[in-house]
Amino acid sequence: MGPRPHSGYGVMSTDGATANGGGPLVELQNLKVYFPIKSGVVLDRHVGDIRAVDDVSLQIKRGETVGLVGESGCGKSTVGRTIVRLYKPTAGRILFEGRDISQLGENELRPLRRRMQMVFQDPYASLNPRHSVGRIVGEPLRTHGLANRREAAGRVRDLLKIVGLPGDAAGRYPHEFSGGQRQRIGLARAIALNPDFVVADEPVSALDVSIQAQIINLLEQLQDEFDLTYLFIAHDLAVVRHISDRIAVMYLGWIVEVSSAAELYEKPLHPYTISLLSAVPIPDPIVERQRQPILLAGDLPSPANPPAACRFHTRCPFVQPTRCREEIPALRKLSSGHEVACHWAEEINEGRITPREREAVLEAPRPEPVEAPPPV
């Protein structure tokens, strides 16, 4: 499947606020998000950092859907939550329409929150069990003072209709709905403020496969209707491929590969992406039997103490004796516009380096900066 035609690509948003002309809607520049590890009973001593996101740069153009994939714990959700400023970045810049929002305080952020919304992963945890659906969906309107109680009620009914729920759902409570219905409620809440940009944090991974398709289609439909730009976070490669125009692959706080969706699946360049894609089973027993999947050994290393140089070298099936353990690979753009962070991308692509089976190498970690075990 090729990139989908963008209905809203390059089109001015409804409020006409394209301050930066044709530039990206959202741009991350060397974004770092570290979570401090603290220790000590009386005084908190800073003894280290979880480097959830380490030097991530990414551009999201208006109207496109960027997929962000990676294993659990690679920092993809942290990226999403930092863009909508649920977390404060440790370093780097987040540009929204060219304006740096990485250091804004909560009051300055409030008007921006109307334009950036989020759909959460767990449709059970993300809806307040004590609030009725009407209140949940109407909450953004009420907080921003956009509607009084009665106006909000009318708008809520419209929103519920848009996401395919009956209007009388407003009076009911989240526990009365199924997972798919709850995710529709979450979507209604996200689009209530007519945002430009929506971070969808694994919006379908908690749902049945049959329901996943419904929600994905609804997301696409909403995108066409409201000129939305998505950052779609997921670990399911098939889902991401279906909905994304471009895909960024994350590993341990880094983006290791960015390319158009079609190209990534046809010609993955980074060893991590190659192994991820080779792990996807092919629904054809003959092909499936002949193929040699590359299995990754071991677990994700600790983001508190990531491997030196290339972070993937501890598990990489293509690891080379030189460079991999010495130099940090930069995310570089190849001729095709495909970006990859691997020293050997060309050689791997041309088949000059072949994957080897490898044992789970427990690389001697760098000296622990932590003296005491981190508190629970």
Partner: protein, 339 residues
């Protein structure tokens, strides 16, 4: 899978069309969709094919509470006692200070309506106990309200902001907790003055909020990590709105349970203070004061300590049972609905 109702009929498990709670389910069959003779505005078949009677969390909690027998009985008994106190002037045969010299030191009797007897001064003990309930009620109400508000505020702020705010507030709470309660109360009573039930209540309230503050802080610490709180934040809700409109309703269970327990403790402590002579001053009766008055002559006039004592026990017992029932009813993890 059959149940036998008390009447002896056998009840079969519900067939399709009736949910476990008796909610009606309309089947999502094509036939159901074809039957389109419905009034406008009613979609019979929803996406899921289910149409369930809407029931809020509070409705479930109410159902669970009503089914808690001990709590319901306690609620009725307590209501009677509290109403008696509230309408003391209407139901007592005598004023709490009126003396009936003809019947001083009278044992409980129906003669002349001295149901609980009279004391040495000839004052009707039934009237004094009922007025004592009224005093205790007043004290308990104020203590509960004030300490719940203080405890909730301090706990909510500490739990929501955490960090150094939490540290300061919780060390302050620890400080209050380490104070020897009765000694402080007696000292405070000596300084601030005794006698006025409202004053006594405020002194008590300033000591009783600590447990609740810790409980609320605990629930806020866990609630602030919930995705719906993040969702509210992402929607642009301010801190106060998140704390009191999104988080507080989810912490209300422990708060209500704690409040009921404080009612009991407040009544007991007020009784203890009055018993020691530092609480309510004569001629105002309070349950503790009445026991104090009666203790000198308790060997000969047993009714003077027994009736106020029993009243205290009954009130506190009822409150604790209600607290139990509320705790069970408000616990959202408890989905059991007993039939």
């Amino acid at each position: 899978m059959t149940e036998t109702t008390p009447e002896g009929d056998v009840k079969f498990p519900p067939v399709v069309g009736a949910g476990a709670d008796g909610a009606t389910i309309s089947p999502a069959t094509p036939e159901a969709a074809v039957v389109a003779d419905l009034p406008d505005g009613i979609d019979l078949v929803h996406e899921s094919g289910l149409e369930l009677k809407s029931r809020s969390q509070w409705a479930y909690a109410r159902r669970r509470f009503v089914r808690h027998r001990l709590a319901m009985v306690s609620l009725v008994v307590l209501a009677i006692i509290l109403l008696a106190g509230a309408f003391a002037n209407l139901i007592t045969p005598y004023s709490f200070a009126a003396q009936d010299f003809a019947h001083s030191g009278q044992a409980p009797t129906f003669k002349a309506h001295h149901f609980f007897g009279t004391d040495v001064l000839g004052r009707d003990y039934f009237s004094r106990v009922v007025y004592g309930i009224r005093t205790s009620e007043k004290v308990a109400l104020i203590v509960t309200l004030v300490s719940t508000v203080i405890g909730t505020l301090i706990g909510a702020v500490a739990g929501y902001y955490s960090g150094w705010v939490d540290n300061i507030l919780m060390r302050f709470t620890d400080l209050i907790l380490t104070l020897p309660g009765l000694a402080v109360l007696l000292t405070a009573a000596a300084f601030i003055g005794t006698g006025n039930p409202i004053r006594v209540a405020f002194i008590l309230a300033l000591l009783f909020w600590t447990a609740l503050a810790r409980i609320v802080r605990g629930s806020f610490l866990s609630l602030r990590e919930k995705e719906y709180v993040e969702a509210a934040k992402a929607a642009g809700s301010g801190d106060l709105r998140i704390m009191f409109r999104h988080m507080l309703p989810n912490a209300v269970g422990p708060i209500v349970v704690n409040a009921t327990l404080i009612v009991g403790i407040a009544i007991l402590t007020e009784a203890a203070l009055s018993f020691l002579g530092f609480g309510i001053q004569p001629p105002n009766p309070s349950l503790g004061k009445l026991i104090n008055d009666g203790q000198d002559v308790s060997s000969s006039m047993w009714w003077l300590v027994t009736f106020p004592g029993l009243t205290i026990v009954l009130i506190v017992l009822c409150i604790n049972f209600i607290g139990d029932g509320l705790r069970d009813a408000l616990d959202p993890t408890q989905r059991r609905t007993r039939a």
